[in-house]
Amino acid sequence: MNSESRHEEHMHDGDCANCPNRMSASDSEPPTRRRFLNYLLGTGFVGTAFAVLYPILKFITPPHLIEAAQNSVTAGKVSDLALNSGKIFKFGNKPGLLIRTASGDFKAFSAICTHLDCIVQYQPENKQIWCACHNGQYNMSGANVGGPPPRPLEEFVVNTRGDDIVVSKA
């Protein structure tokens, strides 16, 4: 093998550590070119990976659905709700709790327990609001009085229009 063909071989390898001295001028050239190509390749890979992963990440994040802002709702009829009882009603797509107290007053709260998102219920025997999931208790003002709930229930305003019970956000 003559020196020229050996040089060619080295050029192919991109490694010129053993090149003859006369090639010293181009010694630094191949590593730089290689670095440049590696840089291009690396950037290409990162770019491609990003172009593939970004739509996937966006895809798995559910879109925000715009809900029609609902400020009041007819939660039920006065004649349907017995004294000292409660019922769940739909406030938009969230559950609300409507209570008719023993004295005949109406109260309405968000039915979503402030602890871990369960749906609460009215307990007529204890005259309190109770969450079955972790035994959370709220009084008739919606204040958290027992168990793990950290905050009171959101309270709504109740008006009666004829037989209709209208609940609205304060």
Partner: protein, 353 residues
């Protein structure tokens, strides 16, 4: 037809000979703790039962909020042996978690996670997480009331984690609330994502077990222990266990068929006496016992972060127990006993309360 050339032909192309060689070489040390060696294999067998019964259920199950409950109802009432397949799937899932826990704690107490088996331990804990993920996602699929609230609470717990909590909650639920979108997602996790990841991690776990052979507890290390060939001696004993497991599963399915309950309703209060699956009970009870506020933090946030931190410590255990050669490490045994007692006590409290 001659048999020899066929095996030779296959060996030539697939290298079966070397696998057979490996099987012949594999030995199980025999000592007073050998019984614990069976629980890994038992967990693997139950995983196989899950794959088979899961694929069968897929033939009839329809994953949407409108059809899921009815399709499971159809499986257990109309499809021939549907009640059996569905009950076996549910029971086997629970037994799998139980054998997995036994396997993990036996590895812990025999300190089998020591060098060079750290990665085996890491892959094992990862498999535990996957199994819990399977359990949590599969629990929702019948779309009944209990499952609905369990999923609400479970995903809400994920949402409590600072910073990543809220995006994670939306990712898990497929929106702000638990809806049909959540069911579709959980179905995808349960039958595609988790099985794919589990297959890879399980392969790593099993290859590592073959690579390192069976671990011997520190107290027995270096002693001249009797050995049993894996094939056929140990495998035959494994098989007896598996046949017993089939019997137990069939008996449980027949005597205590898994209930379907009532269809989920997003506008009904949580039913009284609601409880999560038994393997979440100790965490459930802990969250129930924590006060609403600890200093200025929400009790449940601290509880959840505490469990996350505990899980992380458990995961990196092999790197904490560094003294490879010390025979006794009472600290780690004591910690292990405390962990077991904590889990068992609070699980019992959860059952009776």
């Amino acid at each position: 037809m001659k048999v020899e050339p066929v095996t030779l032909w296959l060996d030539d192309r697939l290298g079966i000979g070397s696998i057979a060689q490996l099987a012949r070489k594999k030995e199980i040390p025999i000592h007073r703790h050998s019984i614990w060696y069976y629980f890994g294999g038992m967990t693997l067998f139950l995983f196989g039962v899950q794959v088979v019964t899961g694929i069968l259920l897929l033939l009839y199950y329809r994953p949407s909020a409108e059809t899921a409950f009815e399709s499971v109802q159809f499986i257990v009432t109309e499809v021939q042996f549907g009640w059996l397949i569905r009950s076996v799937h549910s029971w086997s899932a629970n037994l799998l978690i139980a054998t997995l826990f036994i396997h993990m704690f036996s590895v812990y107490f025999m300190r089998a996670y020591r060098r060079p088996r750290e990665v085996t331990w890491l892959s094992g804990v990862f498999l535990l997480l996957l199994a819990v993920g399977f359990g949590f996602s599969g629990y929702l699929l019948p779309w009944n009331k209990l499952a609905f609230f369990a999923t609400k609470v479970g995903t809400e717990i994920a949402g409590v984690i600072p910073l990543i909590g809220k995006p994670m909650l939306r990712f898990l639920r497929g929106g702000e609330d638990v809806t049909g979108a959540t069911l579709t997602r959980f179905f995808g996790f349960h039958v595609a994502v988790l099985p794919a990841i589990s297959t890879v991690i399980l392969a790593v776990h099993l290859i590592l077990v073959q690579l390192h052979g069976m671990s011997v507890p520190p107290g027995l290390e270096g002693k001249n222990l009797r050995k049993m060939k894996f094939f056929p001696g140990f495998l035959m004993r494994d098989l007896i266990g598996w046949i017993l497991a089939i019997g137990v599963l069939a008996a449980l399915a027949a005597l205590f068929p898994w209930e379907l309950g009532e269809k989920a309703d997003a506008f009904a209060p949580a039913p009284a006496g609601i409880k999560p699956e038994w393997y979440f009970l100790f965490m459930f009870e802990t969250l129930k016992l924590l006060p609403p506020k600890i200093l200025s933090f929400d009790g449940e946030v601290l509880g959840i972060l505490g469990f996350a931190a505990g899980g992380l410590v458990w995961f990196i255990l092999p790197f904490l127990d560094k003294h490879q050669r010390t025979r006794r490490r009472p600290v780690f045994t004591v910690i292990g006993v405390i962990v077991v007692l904590f889990i068992v006590t609070l699980t019992i409290v959860g059952f009776v309360s």
